[in-house]
């Protein structure tokens, strides 16, 4: 079997999701034997092919140049997989979508006129057709490996639609919301992290984005009754997946 050619692309992001690939220390050399990484700047390869079998895309679109670049990535790619909240939701930098980006620019730069930026940070799927999305800020290593394995085998990539609550039940973590009234977004958050935060006594803060059947108004009511500050709960919805959690108000 010829090894599929792979590219890893970066748009507006923190590099944490592509670092997750290099964080597969035990599997890295095996992954590199199975996949032919031709373009992966963070790890060295920089060969521009006319066609890549698989493109992994990190980051969101925040400049006109990047909006063009992502179309080019689509044209050159067989399968496009977006990795992480920046790519799937616009990331934390999408907070600008609800603010005045010119004011932001003036706030940070002495010469805002030298800055090239769009007023919005948008997910990759707003610009091109995406074949598979991996959620999370950052993505989960095991999910990444499962997805790569499925792609290699020509199988359907694994999809989860349930919430973090299911993962708490699976690992036997007592419910923080029920037992202590802790503000926890687990009931409305996409599974995938393995219920990490509840396992360390912290309410989920939604870094995997909304689960498919999320009932946000219902959860907000429960949290309010449990005595949580609504402002704080809404603030935690307005972070890495701000464009996906419909909070009904601007942050």
């Amino acid at each position: 079997m010829t090894r599929p050619t792979v590219a890893v692309w970066k748009f507006a992001s923190c590099d944490g999701c592509q670092l997750t690939i290099l964080d597969c220390e035990d599997e890295l050399l095996a992954i590199a034997a199975a996949l032919d990484f031709r373009m992966f700047l963070e790890a060295g390869p920089e060969e521009m092919l006319d066609h890549f079998d698989i493109s992994l895309v990190e980051g969101s679109i925040t400049t006109n140049h990047d909006a063009e670049r992502i179309r080019e990535v689509r044209e050159r790619s067989g399968i496009v997989v977006t990795i992480g909240a920046c790519a799937t939701a616009g990331g934390i930098q999408a907070l600008r979508n609800y603010a005045d980006v010119e004011e932001y620019t003036r706030h940070i730069y002495a010469r805002p006129d030298w800055i090239d930026t769009l007023a919005t940070s948008t997910p990759i799927a707003h610009h091109i057709k995406v074949d598979h999305e991996l959620h999370g800020c950052p993505i989960n290593k095991e999910q990444l490996i499962a997805t790569i394995t499925a792609l290699l085998a020509g199988r359907r990539t694994p999809v989860t639609s349930h919430s973090v609550c299911v993962e708490c039940k699976q690992r036997g973590t007592p419910c923080l919301l029920v037992s202590e009234g802790t503000a926890c977004l687990g009931p409305v958050t996409h599974a995938g992290c393995g219920a990490l935060c509840p396992s360390i006594n912290r309410g989920c803060f939604g870094c995997f984005g909304p689960s498919e059947s999320a009932n946000l108004p219902g959860l907000l009511e429960v949290l309010r009754v449990a005595g949580n500050d609504e402002h704080e709960v809404l603030a935690s919805l307005r972070t890495f997946n701000v464009t996906k959690f419909d909070t009904g108000a601007t942050p």
């Binding site: 970066k10 748009f11 507006a12 992001s13 923190c14 590099d15 944490g16 999701c17 670092l19 997750t20 290099l22 964080d23 220390e25 035990d26 890295l28 050399l29 590199a32 990484f37 700047l41 963070e42 790890a43 060295g44 390869p45 920089e46 925040t62 400049t63 140049h65 990047d66 990331g91 934390i92 930098q93 907070l95 600008r96 603010a99 980006v101 004011e103 932001y104 620019t105 706030h107 940070i108 730069y109 002495a110 010469r111 030298w114 800055i115 090239d116 930026t117 940070s121 800020c137 950052p138 990490l196 935060c197 360390i200 006594n201 912290r202 870094c207 704080e232 603030a235 972070t239 890495f240």
Partner: protein, 435 residues
């Protein structure tokens, strides 16, 4: 600038193996280096703008997302600054846990940089993965140590990239003694591996080169610890200041013919932060095994060859393993995971040593506990002018090389500084201007 026939122009488009993406443009005219620009493609993400109005409790999670390679550094500097603003001091055992967490990040980040990004330059491979074909043992040894670094971050922080367990005042929960005993066991083996790695990188052929004359070296300095968590700032130019004085001595300026905000000492001149500077100013505080190895490998605080920074990183990795081991060995579960914190009005600054160098945060918090102003100075923007001046100097001495060889040595020289381009939240994407 005109295109005369003696002009050589290199454009290393997307500079690989620099965290993030950047490019380098070098202009050579009449046999002289006319200009060097390190070009950065990183679009701004506006952290300092959207932090305004957020709760004081949020920066550890939010600013971690500035850089996936050194999230702990952002979390630690943010905690320090906000705790200072709120008048909070964490208990000693919690500070130990933070120190341990930071050791994990140093081990992970340094080992990644050495094996996957920098060693291939010295040994002539295009990437760490390609290098593994002939140096499988060394690459696997490196990956295992990198994994141990991540393991520490997972044990203390809950997750390797963007830890979830850090909060203002301490942690959400603390590890069990059994987990810590297992970690100590792994660290004993890790320390041996780290020592072997230091000996290995010291055998690499080193280009003969020095930092540009007059470059100041700047690092934090702690009375008893090789600095990760503070506390004063010192320099080879005699500076010795506290965190509140930082902005009186340093500034970031937006430069038109450059791609990034540039760090400047207000007293004038470029300054360097990061491993070479830390070592020069703190070699006396290394843990015993790291100190012994530095002596064995002939590394002294007079070292000014940026190429040797790979050896310093390896020594610092040994140090981080030793410190981590000693914290893990004497660990007792702290009586509380966090100290209580109450919102109040205040201004606080914090600084720590990220793997790449000094990382400064400053926050103004209002009476409701919301952030009124935030300021973040990452290491890479501070090193930006030194990198460019170093390249002018290096290329000037290397013009006898052909384009490919010169291109290679330029890339390698940039990687000496391990610039984390995502960190430099202000990097611009400007073209070189010609006249």
């Amino acid at each position: 600038m005109t295109h005369d026939h003696r002009a050589r122009r290199f454009n290393v488009e997307a500079l690989t193996r620099v965290e993030g993406e950047g490019g380098l443009i070098v202009e050579v005219r009449d046999g002289e280096v006319a200009d060097v620009h390190l070009r950065i493609f990183e679009p701004p993400r506006f952290f300092e703008a959207f932090l305004r109005g957020r709760a004081y409790s949020e920066p550890p999670d939010i600013t971690a997302r500035i850089c996936g390679i050194c999230p702990v550094a952002y979390q630690m500097s943010a905690c320090q600054a906000i705790e200072s603003a709120l008048g909070v001091e964490v208990d000693a055992p919690l500070r130990d846990l933070r120190h341990l967490l930071y050791c994990g990040e140093w081990i992970e980040s340094h080992t990644l940089h050495i094996h996957l990004l920098h060693a291939p330059d010295f040994l002539g491979y295009p990437s760490g993965i390609a290098m593994a074909a002939e140096h499988r043992f060394e690459v696997e040894r490196g990956l295992q140590l990198k994994k141990l670094g991540n393991r520490i971050v997972e044990v203390v922080g809950g997750r390797a990239v963007h830890p979830v367990n850090v909060k203002i005042g301490g942690f959400y929960s603390t590890p069990t003694t059994a987990t810590m005993a297992a970690l100590a066991e792994e660290l004993r083996a890790g320390l041996d591996a780290a020592s072997e790695i230091a000996r290995w990188v010291a055998t690499f052929p080193m280009p003969d080169h020095e930092l540009p004359d007059g470059t100041a070296l700047v690092s934090l300095r702690h009375p008893t610890e090789y600095p990760m968590l503070g506390e004063r700032l010192v320099s080879t130019t005699g500076l010795d200041i506290g965190v509140e004085e930082y902005l009186d001595h340093f500034a970031e300026v937006q430069v038109e013919h450059s791609t990034a905000l540039h760090g400047q000492m207000l007293a004038g001149g470029d300054y360097l932060v990061g491993p070479l500077a830390r070592f020069a100013l703190n070699a006396d505080l290394l843990a015993p095994r790291a100190a012994g190895l530095a002596a064995e490998l002939g590394l002294t605080s007079a070292e000014r060859n940026p190429f040797r920074s790979i050896v310093v990183r390896a020594i610092e990795t040994v140090h981080a393993c030793e410190v981590a081991l000693s914290i893990a060995e004497r660990y007792l579960v702290p009586t509380r995971a966090a100290v209580p914190v109450e919102a109040r009005e205040g201004i606080g600054c914090g600084w720590t040593e990220a793997p790449r160098g000094l990382l400064f945060h400053r926050y103004e918090i209002d009476a409701n506990g919301l952030i009124a102003d935030a300021r973040i100075v990452p290491p890479t923007s501070q090193n930006q002018p030194v990198i460019e001046h170093d390249l002018i100097h290096l290329i000037g001495n290397s013009l006898h090389l052909d384009d490919a060889a010169l291109e290679h040595i330029c890339e390698q020289a940039v990687r000496n500084y391990d610039p984390c381009i995502s960190c430099a939240t202000h990097f611009l994407d400007l073209r070189v201007l010609r006249s």
